[in-house]
């Protein structure tokens, strides 16, 4: 279904009404001043893009070029020749195929790079693209380990690039944020993300295997390039294409795969999307396998104000309490995420006037206007903060002990081993 798009003028009007945080560009977007009144050349109407990674997810993100229209998908890239061929077929006329992403970045006619590779490539490709002057839409999870996010944010800021992450996004969660902001639920709040509240964690599905027997690399796949910064391990088809999610070297299991989808809008609704928890606790089997991501039961994030976010896989340990509400405080409950049912009823209607930052700007609009505020998708910094929760949760799960976190310095408190896991080595010649 096509979404109706807001005009720039309409958006500015709404943003002005709803902006909760006063920033430079919600006050006076300089480019708007200059663009509308000083004869500045408006940005191109067609945002041209390249998709790097044309496997299952990448194929879903290729916009086919249509006959009679200016082509927008100018390049697709994959180190698997079979994937590349299917990507080219879907993109149609006007699109070229590449094996090496660096050659894609050299094309001056491409505005946007959509990084749809496994996560161990996300940071390196995004950083290189931004250095090359491209804007970046990166798939989730934005990073595989914490320091990658810091460098990505710094790069986006330094080079003035738009960086967003293609998770489910925040549009539609304004109602929830209004209820939270109003205080009608009371504090502290407890939020539950489990299959009963609509969050499936796919823990078993995206667990790695511990019985891999090496196989011959298919001719179509450049396995060494696929591994890139990851350590060399013998090829097995379960390591690549979709099931890569189950291996620490490339991703972080179901938690990393689904975490940004489920948690990012909730952190926005809680108004905690540019900070972090002070304590992360987990339950699950232990110790973890060194190579394969595995099972976990619960993860609990606690903030200094007492807010708790509870992730429950429902795949290990006690079953989820189906009567437990999605969000509750001492005075009331939000019974689901869409913002319709509450206890007592009517809380969402009663808080309809509470001002919150509305999140409905598309990535393409942000690229055209250079306004990276009020975006439907999380910005690079917001995504980094969200994914940090996931990295910390996986550190708690792997080390088998709670993580005490300093969200300002973004360092682990009192546990050098956990702190060291915020950064990981990369296989040469790749480096941050």
């Amino acid at each position: 279904m096509k979404r109706a798009r807001l005009s720039r003028r309409a958006f500015l009007g709404r943003a002005a009404e709803a902006a909760a945080a006063v920033t430079l560009f919600s006050i006076v977007p300089a480019r708007v001043v200059a663009g509308l009144k000083s004869g500045r050349t408006p940005p191109s109407e067609t945002v041209t893009r390249a998709v790097i990674g044309t496997g299952g997810m990448g194929m879903g993100h290729i916009e086919p070029n249509r006959d009679g229209e200016v082509p927008a998908t100018l390049a697709v890239c994959d180190v698997d020749a079979d994937h590349l061929a299917q990507g080219l077929k879907k993109a149609g006329k006007g699109c070229e195929g590449y094996h090496d992403f660096r050659r894609v970045l050299e094309r001056k006619d491409i505005d946007v790079i959509h990084v749809v590779t496994p996560p161990h490539w996300h940071a390196l490709m995004s950083i290189a693209a931004m250095q090359a002057g491209k804007d970046v839409l990166c798939e989730k999870p934005i990073t595989r380990f914490h320091r990658e996010g810091l460098v990505m944010i710094e790069t986006a800021k330094r080079y003035g690039r738009i960086l967003q992450v293609n998770s489910y996004g925040r549009t539609g969660y304004e109602k929830l944020r209004r209820v939270v902001t109003s205080g009608l639920l009371g504090t502290p709040l407890t939020v539950r993300l489990n299959p009963n509240t609509g969050a499936m964690w796919k823990v078993a599905e995206w667990s790695g295997r511990t019985d891999l027997v090496p196989e011959t690399v298919p001719k179509a796949l450049d396995y060494d390039f696929w591994l890139g910064p990851a350590p060399v391990k013998p090829y097995h088809p379960h390591r690549v294409h979709q099931s890569f999610r189950g291996y620490w070297d490339y991703d972080g299991g179901g938690l990393a795969d689904m975490g940004m989808h489920w948690m990012d809008p909730i952190l926005y609704a809680l108004g905690k999307d540019l900070t972090g928890p002070s304590l992360v606790e987990s339950t699950g089997p232990w110790p973890p396998h060194p190579d394969a991501a595995g099972m976990w039961g619960t993860v609990t994030f606690t903030w200094p104000d007492g807010t708790r976010l509870l992730l429950e896989s429902d795949e290990w340990g006690p079953k989820v309490d189906k009567k437990a509400p999605f969000m509750e405080g001492p005075k009331g409950k939000a019974l689901e995420r869409e913002g319709t049912e509450s206890d007592p009823p009517g809380l969402f209607a009663a808080t309809a006037g509470v001002p919150v930052p509305v999140r409905d700007r598309s990535f393409e609009d942000a690229v055209k206007t250079r306004d990276n505020t009020h975006t439907s998708k999380p910005t690079g910094e917001e995504a980094h903060r969200t994914v940090t929760h996931i990295h910390l949760a996986n550190i708690a799960i792997r080390t088998g002990r709670p993580v005490r976190w300093d969200p300002v310095r973004e360092r682990v408190i009192g546990d050098a081993a956990q702190d060291a896991m915020l950064d990981e080595p990369m296989r040469k010649p790749w480096h941050l």
């Binding site: 279904m1 006063v22 006050i27 300089a30 200059a34 194929m59 090359a132 060194p290 009663a350």
Partner: protein, 804 residues
């Protein structure tokens, strides 16, 4: 004990591989067999017992490591990995020390394969043992800089940006090494030489601002109002972040005495706001009276950003003038701490400002504002009273219903505000019966003196409130009021029935529409009947029946137009038939044609032939260009879809906890198992579908991680070998007469004819069932049958439903 262990470790290191055959035997095997530990007890006990074996266990475990595919060494890997985490816990420094020494001793061996060496190195890392950080990069010399600049300038392709990044890093080292001038020179050279690369200009501006202070400001202002949008964006951010009082003063001077254009002043105010330096406040406040409204708005926002709660007087004052909207927006944005200041400003404010402030307090939603608002519900100014009642609606509860009912009965000027506030509170109540009781009590107590002029006004207002609560007692009161001696009350009762929150007064309204002596009441009742019928949720067929009844009652053309308006929203063949018949009525033929055109447009997928005939008739009857244009567009879509099967019924969505789209496609749901028990409905048309024959399941069913079914019956005049052409987003499964003919559990976007599958169509009708899985994003499919030569199949047609 530590000494003994270390002494012993020395022997181990000398002994080399002698520990390969470690002496733990079955004890260690038993412990490894418990890994990973699920039960809390074993989780907390297994690793301590392994660790208690001391460093020798590392050698024993390392000896069990094998090459990939050469055996199961998971126990040893789990244990070594778990030990790395276990010994690195805070307070276990001694254990960590022997673990590190033991692993390093293992790594000293030359016999390890790359795979296992890498594994052991990783365990060191998991203890927090990281290689010493490289020494800080030395401050580059002039010669180094020249080399780097030359490399960045001469490199091509991808290398150019890597070299540029290195140059920028070197400039940052220079800046950190107190060689700001040299760093600044690099940034200025980059700004000049790389003017066509916005990202490089951004980086250079950032660096320049860090080293050049106010000297960088002119460059930033030029970029801020220059011709490159992305560089302007960077310049704004950098200007906001550049430290120093002198920098603030430089920007503040740009707005002194209305210097520069309004656009520049606006931009500079934005910079000052984002800098957050209150030293700029005097300059900002001087622009609150600027002649340009855009500048004044920017000034209000900057004032709010810099002064916070202390900006309340300025912002409140502006609520009474032409910048009220901007001021209100700023007041809403102020932090929670400003609420007390806002509340404190209310008493002394003039009426217009007071009303505005109360509106802001209501929208901010702080519970502390309720008593403030309650103090003004009987204010002398009607605007203030209305605003105060608005706050009570947002923040009040059942305890305030009686107050609101009282205000409603007494205050004609604030009656609507009181009713709205009452409605808001009722919406938050699980059971609105007490609210209805409060209204009924007030209703019975209404005396002439209570009304604003007459009892009818107060009664009417209370009857209107009952429509917000609903319920049997309230309905009974409305029915009773239909016989009231006061015409105002009777009319209010009719209106209230039409606004009822459920369909229970439908019969009353039908009767009133037919028999009420007052023509106005008949019209109101008919309107109410049509509205409630549309919202009753009784299904399209029942709704068409009710609209037919309404049509029979509707005496005036305007009333028939009202019915046609509702009819046009019903996607049902019976609705189309009724609209087509109505086209014979000369008084409403245009409206009937518009309704018929709309309904036919919705039915072009599911009832192609019927819709086409109807659209032709619409074109013949209407004189409206808009209706003609829409009808022709629908006919064009029919032509474009002619090759595709577009008549479908739909069922779903089907979701199962814990299953994603891939598994959902493989999981049979009721339409596969027992289609007769399924509630099928016509697949609705999404007007935005491109191409029009796209079957948009997302439009019909919405959501993600689910699956849905489409069903149709296909007729061919003779047994036919055909090619099924299908595209889907995501996976698809197709049955013909219950037999699976196609199964592609793909993750993809819809591209028509992505799949081409040979199938056999039996003579006559057959049932085609299609299942489409939804992962994320779009959810759609397209289906057609072609003959084996790729051409259309003669005589093939499809109708939504199942074959007999």
């Amino acid at each position: 004990m530590a000494f003994v262990r270390h002494a012993w470790l020395g022997l181990v290191l000398v002994a080399g591989t002698a520990w390969a055959a470690a002496p733990f035997g079955t004890d260690l095997d038993a412990l490894l067999g418990q890994l990973p530990s699920s039960a809390t007890v074993s989780r907390d006990s297994v690793m301590p017992r392994i660790a208690a074996m001391g460093p020798e266990v590392v050698f024993a475990l390392a000896a069990r490591l094998v090459e990939p595919g050469k055996g199961d060494d998971n126990g040893a890997r789990w244990a070594l990995h778990g030990l790395a985490f276990f010994v690195s816990r805070p307070g276990a420094e001694a254990e960590r020390a022997w673990y590190l020494e033991a692993v390093k001793a293992e790594l000293a061996k030359t016999t390890w394969s790359d795979f296992n060496r890498q594994f052991l190195e990783e365990q060191l890392r998991m203890t927090g043992e990281v290689a010493a950080a490289p020494a800080l990069a030395p401050v580059p010399t002039e010669k180094d800089i020249k080399v780097l600049e030359r490399a960045a300038a001469s490199a091509t392709g991808f290398d150019r940006w890597e070299r540029t990044d290195e140059l920028l890093a070197a400039a940052r080292v220079l800046a950190a090494g107190k060689r700001a001038a040299a760093a600044g020179a690099i940034y200025r050279r980059l700004l000049k030489a790389r003017a066509d690369e916005p990202q490089v200009r951004c980086a250079a501006l950032e660096g320049l601002a860090a080293v050049d202070g106010t000297k960088a400001c002119p460059d930033l202002l030029a970029a801020l109002t220059g011709d490159a949008a992305d560089v302007a964006d960077c310049a704004g951010r950098v200007a906001a972040a550049a430290p120093g009082a002198a920098v603030t003063a430089w920007w503040a001077a740009r707005i002194a005495n209305a210097r520069g254009s309004a656009e520049v002043r606006t931009a500079v105010l934005g910079v000052l706001a984002a800098r957050g330096d209150a030293a700029a406040l005097p300059a900002v406040r001087r622009t609150l009276k600027d002649s340009d409204p855009g500048v004044r708005t920017a000034a209000l926002r900057s004032d709010a950003a810099l002064a916070g709660a202390k900006a309340v007087p300025d912002l409140a004052a502006a609520l009474g003038g032409p910048d009220a909207e901007a001021a209100r927006s700023c007041l809403l944005d102020l932090p929670d701490a400003a609420t007390a200041a806002l509340e404190g400003t209310v008493p002394a404010a003039p009426p217009k400002v007071r009303a505005g402030l109360l509106g802001v307090l209501g929208a901010r939603g702080s519970a502390s504002s309720l008593p403030v608002a309650l103090a003004y519900v009987a204010d002398a100014d009607a605007g203030v009273r209305r605003a105060a009642l608005g706050v009570v609606g947002v923040l009040g509860g059942p305890d305030h219903l009686a107050l609101l009912v009282g205000r409603l009965a007494q205050d004609a000027d604030a009656r609507e505000a009181a009713a709205d506030a009452f409605g808001l509170i009722v919406k938050r109540m699980k059971d609105p019966a007490p609210a209805a009781s409060a209204v009924l009590a007030a209703f019975r107590a209404v005396r002439p003196a209570d009304g604003a002029g007459s009892t009818g006004g107060a009664k009417a207002a209370l009857l209107g409130l009952l429509a917000r609560t609903g319920g049997e007692a309230a309905l009974a009161a409305e029915r009773e009021a239909l016989g009231d001696t006061d015409a105002t009350a009777r009319e209010a009762a009719v209106r209230a029935l039409g606004d009822w929150p459920d369909a229970s007064p439908l019969a009353d309204l039908a009767m009133l529409a037919k028999t009420a002596p007052e023509p106005v009441f008949r019209v109101l009742a008919l309107r109410g009947y049509v509205r409630l019928a549309g919202e009753a949720g009784e299904g399209d067929a029942v709704l068409v029946g009710r609209l037919r009844d309404a049509w029979a009652i509707a005496g005036r053309p305007e009333d028939r137009v009202l019915v046609l308006g509702a009819l046009g929203k019903v996607t049902h063949p019976a609705a189309l038939e009724m609209a087509l018949k109505a086209m014979d009525d000369p008084a409403v033929k245009e409206e009937a044609a518009a309704a018929a055109g709309r309904i036919a447009g919705e039915l072009i997928l599911s009832r192609r032939e019927v819709a086409r005939a109807a659209l032709d008739r619409v074109l013949a009857v209407t004189t409206s260009d808009d209706v003609k244009k829409a009808a022709r567009a629908s006919i064009d879509s029919i032509v474009e879809c002619s090759d595709y099967v577009t008549a479908w019924e739909i069922a779903g969505p089907y979701v199962r906890e814990g299953l994603d789209d891939k598994k959902l496609l493989e999981t049979p749901f009721e339409p596969e198992r027992d289609p007769a028990r399924v509630t099928w409905r016509l697949l609705p048309r999404n007007e935005d579908s491109d191409p029009p024959y796209l079957l948009d399941l997302k439009y019909a069913l919405e959501g993600e991680h689910r699956t849905g079914y489409l069903r149709t019956r296909v007729f061919v005049p003779k047994k036919t070998k055909a090619i099924l052409e299908a595209g889907s987003d995501d996976g698809i499964k197709v049955w013909i007469d219950g037999k699976v003919v196609h199964d592609n559990n793909a993750w993809r976007g819809t591209k028509c004819a992505d799949d081409k599958v040979p199938v056999k169509l039996p003579k006559g009708w057959c049932t085609v069932l299609v299942k489409v899985a939804q992962g994320e994003g779009d959810w759609s499919a397209c289906i057609r049958f072609r003959n084996v030569d790729g051409g259309p199949i003669e005589g093939l047609r499809a109708e939504a439903g199942a074959a007999e």
